[in-house]
C-alpha cells in the first residue's frame, strides 16, 4: 500500500499527527484531569471524594432523584413513543407524514426553552392554569410544574422523539414477509403483532429507551428551570451547585459517577442496535409495509395522536410566541395586550446582542473546526485505511459518552491555570464545544464518506492524479453536500447550547442559552420568550436548510 500512495506519505503522516496532538490536548488531557481530580487527595490516590459524595445525604438524594426521574421519564416516553410509532408506521391512520412531522417537532426545541414554555403553560400563573381556574372557579390548579413530576413529564416529552425515531425506523426496516409468513402460518393480525413484530422491534425499543435514559439523566436545563424552585436536585444540578461553592473534587467525583451510568447505558444501547440491525431487511426487494386496519377506531385514534403531537410540540412553541408578544405577564389575552416592545428591547440591550454574537461565533467556529477535523479523520480511517487514524477515530468519539457537565468541569480544571488560561473568556466555551461536538462530526463525515465508492478515487489515481489532486477534484466535491448538512447539524445545537455555557460563562462571554436562562431566572419572562422565539426561528430555518440539502433524509 505504501508504494501506491508514496507521493502523499508525508502529508498523511503530518495530518494524522497534527489531529492526534489536537485531540490529546483538547479532549484527552482535560477529561483525564477530571478523573484524576476525583481520585486524588493530598496523600495521593484516594476514594475520599467518592466517600464524601456517598456520605452526604443531599448528594445521595440527588443521585437517587436522577435515577428515578430518568427511569420514570424513560418508561413514559418508551410507552408513548413505541405506541405512536406502531400507530404511525403500521396502521392505516390518516395523514401519516404530517403526524410524523408533528411528533418530531419537540426534537427541534432546545429542552430548556421547552421547560420555560411548559412553565408558561402550567406554572402557577400559566395560561392553562388560569384557564382551569376560571373554568372551575378553583383558587389554584391541582398541578405544579415546578416539581419532580413536572421535571419527569417535560423530560419525557423531550425524549419522546428519540424513541419514536428509533422504533419507527426499526418498524420500517423489518422485512414484511416475516409478518406475512406468520399470517400464512395461521396467525391472526394481532397474534402476528405479538409473536413476530413486537419481538423483532424489542431491541429497538430498548435501545431507544436507553438513549432517552441517557438524555434524561444528563439533562441540566429541565431540572434546573423546573426543579430549583422546589429545591429538587438531580446529579446535574447538584454538580452545578457544587461548582458554585466551589467544591471541585466532589463535583468531579459526581460527574464521573454520572459518566459511568450513562456510559454503561450507551454500551448496552450499541449492543442492542447491532442486534436490531440483524433483524433488518436483507433483500433489496422493495417492501410495502402491511398496514393494520383500525376500522372504527381510525378517526378517534387519529384525534388522540394529533392532540398528543400538538400538545408536545406545537403548544409550547405557540405559548413561547404568545408570551413574547404580550405586554406584561398576566395581561388579558386580547389583541390590545400585544406589543412588539420585547423584540425592540431585545434589539437594544447589549447583552442580547453580545449573546447573539458570541453564540454565532461559537457555532460557526465549532462547526467548521470539528467538521474539518472529522473529514480528515474519516478520510484517513476509511479511505487511506491508515491504522493510526483508527486511534484518532476512537479518541474523537470518546466525548459522546461524556455528560456535558463533566466536560465543563474538565475545561475548568484544564484551562484555568497557567500556562494556558482560557477560563473567564469565550475561548473556554469554544474548547468545551469542540470536545462535545467532535464525535458528532466524525460520525457524520464517516457516514458521508462511506457513500462515495472508493473506485471513484481509484479511477482518478489511475488517470494520473496525485492524492492531493484526488481529494480536491473528486472527494471534496462528492462529499460537499454531506459536509454542509453536517456543519449545520453541529452549528444548531452549539448555537443554543446551555449546560456547559451556564457552567463556564463569564461577563462578556454570555451565550444565547445563558442569556435566556438568566433572564428567565431573573423574572424577565417576556424578554426571555422573545429571545427564545428568535432562537427557535433560526433553528427551524437551519433545519429546513438541512432537509433541503439532504433531500429530507436528515433533520426533523
Amino acid at each position: 500500500m505504501n508504494s501506491v500512495v508514496r507521493g502523499s506519505f508525508d502529508a498523511r503522516y503530518a495530518i494524522t499527527a497534527a489531529i492526534g496532538l489536537f485531540f490529546a490536548v483538547v479532549i484527552i488531557y482535560p477529561l483525564s484531569l477530571v478523573i484524576a481530580k476525583s481520585f486524588s487527595s493530598d496523600s495521593g490516590l484516594s476514594l475520599a471524594h467518592y466517600a464524601r459524595v456517598f456520605s452526604d445525604a443531599a448528594n445521595l438524594k440527588a443521585l437517587w432523584n436522577s435515577v428515578w426521574v430518568s427511569v420514570l421519564s424513560t418508561i413514559m416516553c418508551v410507552a408513548a413513543g413505541a405506541l405512536l410509532a406502531m400507530l404511525v408506521v403500521r396502521t392505516d391512520i390518516p395523514a401519516k407524514s404530517f403526524l410524523r412531522l408533528l411528533l418530531l417537532l419537540p426534537y427541534g426545541i432546545p429542552p430548556f426553552i421547552g421547560a420555560i414554555a411548559w412553565a408558561q403553560l402550567f406554572g402557577p400563573a400559566g395560561y392553562v392554569t388560569k384557564l382551569y381556574m376560571s373554568a372551575t372557579g378553583a383558587g389554584s390548579a391541582p398541578w405544579n410544574v415546578y416539581s419532580p413530576s413536572g421535571v419527569v413529564l417535560v423530560l419525557s416529552i423531550y425524549q419522546l422523539p428519540v424513541v419514536f425515531i428509533t422504533v419507527s425506523g426499526a418498524l420500517g426496516r423489518i422485512d414484511t414477509s416475516l409478518e406475512e409468513a406468520a399470517r400464512m402460518s395461521g396467525a391472526s393480525p394481532f397474534r402476528t403483532l405479538l409473536d413476530v413484530t413486537l419481538p423483532l422491534v424489542t431491541p429497538a425499543i430498548a435501545a431507544g429507551g436507553l438513549l432517552a435514559f441517557v438524555g434524561s439523566i444528563c439533562n441540566f436545563g429541565i431540572p434546573a428551570l423546573l426543579g430549583f424552585r422546589a429545591r429538587f436536585f438531580v446529579l446535574t444540578t447538584k454538580i452545578y451547585s457544587a461548582l458554585s461553592i466551589p467544591d471541585m473534587p466532589v463535583a468531579a467525583a459526581m460527574s464521573v459517577i454520572l459518566a459511568l451510568v450513562s456510559g454503561v447505558a450507551l454500551i448496552l444501547q450499541r449492543r442492542l442496535e447491532r442486534k436490531q440491525h440483524r433483524y433488518a431487511v436483507i433483500s433489496g426487494k422493495s417492501v410495502r409495509p402491511q398496514t393494520m386496519r383500525l376500522g372504527p377506531a381510525r378517526v378517534p385514534l387519529f384525534v388522540v395522536v394529533i392532540a398528543a403531537a400538538l400538545f408536545a410540540g406545537v403548544v409550547p412553541i405557540a405559548s413561547m410566541i404568545l408570551t413574547s408578544f404580550i405586554k406584561y405577564w398576566g395581561a388579558p389575552l386580547t389583541f390590545k395586550s400585544m406589543t412588539l416592545d420585547h423584540y425592540k428591547y431585545v434589539l437594544r440591550i447589549p447583552i442580547a446582542a453580545r449573546a447573539f454574537r458570541n453564540s454565532l461565533f461559537l457555532g460557526v467556529c465549532t462547526a467548521t473546526i470539528t467538521m474539518t477535523a472529522g473529514a480528515f479523520v474519516s478520510y484517513m480511517c476509511i479511505r487511506a485505511k491508515f491504522a493510526a487514524a483508527r486511534v484518532l477515530d476512537f479518541l474523537g468519539t470518546i466525548p459522546y459518552a461524556v455528560p456535558h457537565t463533566m466536560i465543563a468541569i474538565a475545561m475548568i480544571l484544564a484551562w484555568s491555570r497557567p500556562p494556558v488560561v482560557l477560563y473567564g473568556t469565550i475561548w473556554v466555551l469554544l474548547a468545551a464545544y469542540l470536545v462535545t461536538y467532535m464525535p458528532f462530526s466524525i460520525r457524520t463525515t464517516n457516514a458521508t464518506l462511506q457513500q462515495v465508492h472508493i473506485s471513484l478515487e481509484e479511477a482518478a489515481r489511475m488517470s494520473g492524479a496525485r492524492w492531493s489532486d484526488t481529494v480536491r477534484d473528486i472527494v471534496l466535491p462528492l462529499i460537499k453536500p454531506g459536509l454542509v448538512s453536517g456543519w449545520v447539524l453541529v452549528f444548531m445545537p452549539a448555537f443554543r447550547e446551555l449546560t456547559m455555557s451556564v457552567l463556564l460563562w463569564s461577563q462578556g462571554a454570555e451565550t444565547l442559552g445563558v442569556a435566556i436562562y438568566n433572564m428567565q431566572d431573573a423574572g424577565y419572562s417576556q424578554i426571555a420568550a422573545a429571545l427564545s422565539t428568535v432562537v427557535l426561528l433560526i433553528i427551524f430555518a437551519g433545519n429546513a436548510l438541512v432537509r433541503r440539502l439532504s433531500r429530507g433524509e436528515i433533520g426533523f
Binding site: D175, S177, E180, A181, R183, S185, G186, A187, L200, S283
Partner: protein, 353 residues
Amino acid sequence: MADRLEGIRVLKLTKRFGSYAAVDGVTFTVRKNEFFSLLGPSGCGKTTTLRCIAGLEQPTFGEVYVGGRLVSSVEKGVMVPPERRGIGMVFQNYAVWPHMTVEQNIVYPLKIARASKARIRSTLSNIVDLLKLSGLEKRYPAELSGGQQQRVALGRALAMDPEVMLLDEPLSNLDAKLREQMRFELKDLQRKTGIAILYVTHDQVEAMAMSDRVAVMNSGMIVQEGTPYEIYKSPADKFVADFIGTMNFLPCEVLEWRDGLATLRLRNGSVVRINSPEVGRGTYSFAVRPEDLLLNREEGVECQVDVAVFLGNVVDYRVRLGDDVLRVQTSADNRFEPGEGARLAVQRGVLFP
C-alpha cells in the same frame, strides 16, 4: 363448483394498482398432485397473482378457490384472511423469523393451531428428517446457511399440512449449485407429499425442470399454458418463443404453403422449406432454435462461421447468413473454424406474423 381433484382455481383474477393492471383477467387451475409454475419476466404479475391467492393482496376482480373452497371473490364479497386459508407458503427471502430457533420456526403453525404436544413432536421429527435438518433444531437462523434457511422455510410451510403450497421464487437467493440440488429435492418432495404446488419463477430452466405444467405470463396475462415440452416446442407467440430458451428470429417472406409445407425466402435470397400449419403469403418472423439448425458441409443454405465456442458436449456457433447472425448448436463431432464457409440445414421452426 367444488372439485375433489382441484388444488387451486383462479378465475378472471385482476389486480389493479391505480390504473395499472398488474394482473389482468388471469384464469388457471392447479390440480392436486400437480407441480404448476407461473413463469414470466419480472413485473409480469406472477408474484401479485400468488399474493392474491395467499390472501396477502386483495384482488380488484375475480375469484380464487383453494381445495374447492371459495376463498376470495370480489363479486360475492368473500375475502378469507390469509391465516384461514390453510396454504403453505415459502417466501423469496425465506422469511425465517430471526428471533426463533429452527424448531420454533417450524412448529409455529402447529402452535397456532393448538396441536397436541405429541403431534407437534412427531410432525417436527418427520419434517426434520425429510428436510435433513436434524441437529440444527436449537439453532437460530443467523447461524444457518442460505440453503438451510430455505429448508426451514419449507419445513414451516409443510408443518401446516397443507393441500396447497405457494412458492415465490424460493431458489433465487441460492448459489447455482445449491439451486440445482434444491430443484431435485423440491420435485422429490412434491412427489412424496402429493401437495399441489404453485411455483413462481422468472427462471425458465427452473420451471422446465420441475413443473408438470407451466403458465407463461406477460404484462399481467397468461400467454400460454401447457407442459414444458409443448411450450418449448410450440411457443404460442413471439414473446414465449423469445422468453423460453434461445431462439433465432429471421425476417422472411412466405412464398407459398402447400400440404403442410411452407416455402420461405430469407433476406439473403436463399429459399427454405419447413413443416408448418397453414400460413398465407407475406412477411413473417421465422423462429428457429439453435439446436434445430444443422451446420454441415453437404446440404442447406450457404453461410459463414464467425465465432465458434467449444462447450464440451456441443459447439456454440455464431453463423452469418447475409446480414443476419444466427446461433447454432451442433454436436462437437463435426467442427468448423471461424471464417470457414459451411451449409446450414433447417430441421424445424415456427413462423410468427
